[in-house]
Subunit: 116 residues, 2 copies
Amino acid sequence: MYERKIPIDYTCGLSIAMEVAISKWKFCLLTEIHKGVVRPKDLFDAVHGISKRVLHQQLKELEFHKLITKTIYPEVPARVEYNLTGDGREVLPLLYAIDQWGLEYVPKLKKLTEEI
Amino acid sequence: MYERKIPIDYTCGLSIAMEVAISKWKFCLLTEIHKGVVRPKDLFDAVHGISKRVLHQQLKELEFHKLITKTIYPEVPARVEYNLTGDGREVLPLLYAIDQWGLEYVPKLKKLTEEI
DNA sequence: GGTGATACTGATTAAATTATCACCATGGTG
DNA sequence: CACCATGGTGATAATTTAATCAGTATCACC
């Protein structure tokens, strides 16, 4: 993982959340896992636009931060499943709420950018 | 403002929110303004660590996205005040909720990083 | 032995976000 | 005039986040 040069501000919860759960792909991954898409291959197919490399990177970070767990089944071909932890389930509704706000804001943003 | 090379995903509300309200300083600025710290100089003093340049940049973006309004009073020395708009007031509680989650998560994160 | 499916990694580059530093403008006051 | 306070900008660099491209490994099956 990337080693920060400027230390993170532990007094700002939003910064922490940005580090842990708010990034381009993590929200999508958490929601898909929540919906039952738990295998890497399926996640790759479900999350349109993500690359395999980034998928694994993000899953690894989510696992490191214990928002998801990883289970490896000794099958062939290999089967791996990711599932939400308590923390993961807890943060998801908050992310949904922000997502909802963002979606409602879209038309306003479009108007602003078109006006240029 | 920076001109994106990769267009933003208008179907993901969280991406929009990240563009508009979720960044290193915007949350702090919105909360301070909400608390009544409305002049650039006072915001600069209140938000520890921000540079003047970045302060004005972020305020400009918040104004562009209509989360805050800017009022210029014809006084000397110049007086400028920023205030929340309806959209700004609407998104703030959601940001607070995330902030709260982040603060509760801090001890877990500290433990994880210390284990390395 | 070659092919396919699944899961994953290393090295590098590109893009986006923040930071730094120097600078301008206005008008009041000593 | 020099200096202060306020509000603000341009150019550039550093930091952080995400993308790209090529590659590894296991074991089944034909």
